[in-house]
Point group: C2
Chain length 285, copies 2
């Protein structure tokens, strides 16, 4: 099965990647499937979590936390890689039961960057680039998105970002463009700009197609990235908003705190998010 | 500060051990403290989690998951230890910022076992033994509990246990005894007997003074112990019940799945429980 088809199949089934009901043979899982098969959140991992890990370490960690979809960062696969190298890396993940649903974050300053990004995404076999194209490049990126039928989720990067600090800054630049251009809502950078992520999600839900999940210690530029629940982000409010609007994208954990040993903190994040989902979603044995 | 006093101080403050609001200097934590200072759950770790860890590994893991209270199992401190050895082990935990709130599980078949257990608990400096005394010993244990003013939380051990398989089996044997005798509700063993832990908690809340938190794969004897959320136990229902009744004891994680490397799974459990608590308790930024 191709990576794209694998992704689409998962999106349709919408259960295996959640980590909430991993044991579907038992009564509770079966009940969840029956009663709410269409209202599931899909969990993923954002590649930057593994900025200092090897591919094999990343795979082992993803298997340990039981998350099967991945947004590939170029740390594992440079943007100028040839098809053979791409197939090798994608194959390593796929052989471990992990599908790649997006690539990025990819920064684009000139047309050649966009050309490369779309060719790369096509060869990886995904239908989404998480990206940050400069304003002037947006019309060109829109053309490419249509030509390749590949979505571009523009990532807000907080107070330091001169172009897209907040989700609203992304939104105002893409709202009149083709619907393949959307937002990757980074809830940590959003909170660092003193904007509640749940509120931002509800405001821009029609164009949010990917999400980076994390927590931060304060509503300020210098806030640190921490495990979910140890910071100030209101994750229950966010999860309620996601269910309310029937969010169809991925919730990808981007855990940055312990780059050389991300497993414990990432495990805590995944547990926290699943605990919130199980409580909000109200499915009990 | 003595270990007992440290414990009592923590119980009074009721915040440091929860793991929910570790950053009290920020707005959300401050809000939680103001609005609900009396309705907190205290998290702990049950000693069997570290059945194959060293004391130093156990301490490092507890610091990593940010839990500061511990129920000491004799794997770290044999029941026949002298005062010097006890002070050494207790000191190691205390020096790392961890207080010991209970000892056990301690099995008692004859009077000498009970004599030893109470002397041990007294020297450790705790006011609770998590124990399993045979039926015939209960009147003697009751005497000792009064004489030492040390509580005994009798632990239900599931279908294999000939005396206390279910919480109800404990309850019927202690309900007419001194109130220092109570239950340590082990939710995993409870679920393996096909009893919903939240229901059991509500039924016996007046005598439940300690709790072992885990998840299991099914409502059957042979169910395996797994990370919270990966099994069938309805943790949100349990947490709602605990808040409803104002449970004052500890919720101690007993993570048994990966005895040689408990940190990742334990982290997921702690995250899950905190995520449920944050959602149920309704404290948002």
């Amino acid at each position: 099965m191709s990576n794209r088809r694998s992704f689409l199949k998962q999106a349709t089934i919408g259960v295996t990647a959640t980590g909430i009901a991993p044991l579907l043979s038992h009564a509770r899982g079966a009940k969840i499937m029956q009663s709410n098969a269409v209202n599931r959140l899909q969990l993923g991992i954002a590649g930057y979590t593994f900025s200092k890990s090897t591919i094999q370490q990343a795979i082992a960690i993803m298997q340990r936390v039981n998350i099967k979809t991945f947004s590939l960062k170029d740390v594992f696969l440079p943007l100028n890689s040839n098809k053979a190298k791409i197939d090798e890396v994608v194959g390593a993940f796929n052989n471990a039961g992990i599908s790649i649903y997006a690539v990025g974050v990819i920064y684009m300053k000139k047309k050649e960057d966009a050309d490369q990004a779309f060719e790369y995404a096509k060869m990886v076999g995904v239908d989404m680039i998480v990206g940050s194209p400069v304003y002037e490049l947006l019309p060109y990126v829109e053309q490419k998105a249509k030509a390749y039928n590949i979505r571009v989720a523009i990532h807000n990067h907080g107070p330091e970002d001169p172009e897209y600090p907040t989700p609203g800054d992304v939104y105002k630049h893409i709202k009149n463009l083709d619907s393949r251009l959307g937002l990757c809502l980074d809830i940590g950078h959003t909170q660092r700009d003193n904007i509640d992520p749940a509120t931002a999600y509800l405001q821009f839900a029609d164009r949010i197609i990917d999400m980076h999940i994390k927590d931060v210690t304060g509503p300020v530029k210098d806030a640190e990235s921490v495990e979910l629940g140890r910071g100030i982000i209101d994750i229950p409010a966010l999860v309620k908003a996601l269910y309310k609007k029937g969010y169809k994208g991925h919730c990808s954990f981007e855990y940055e705190k312990d780059a050389t040993d991300p497993l414990p903190g990432l495990s805590e994040c995944v547990g926290y998010f699943n605990g919130v989902c199980a409580t909000v979603n109200g499915h009990h044995a």
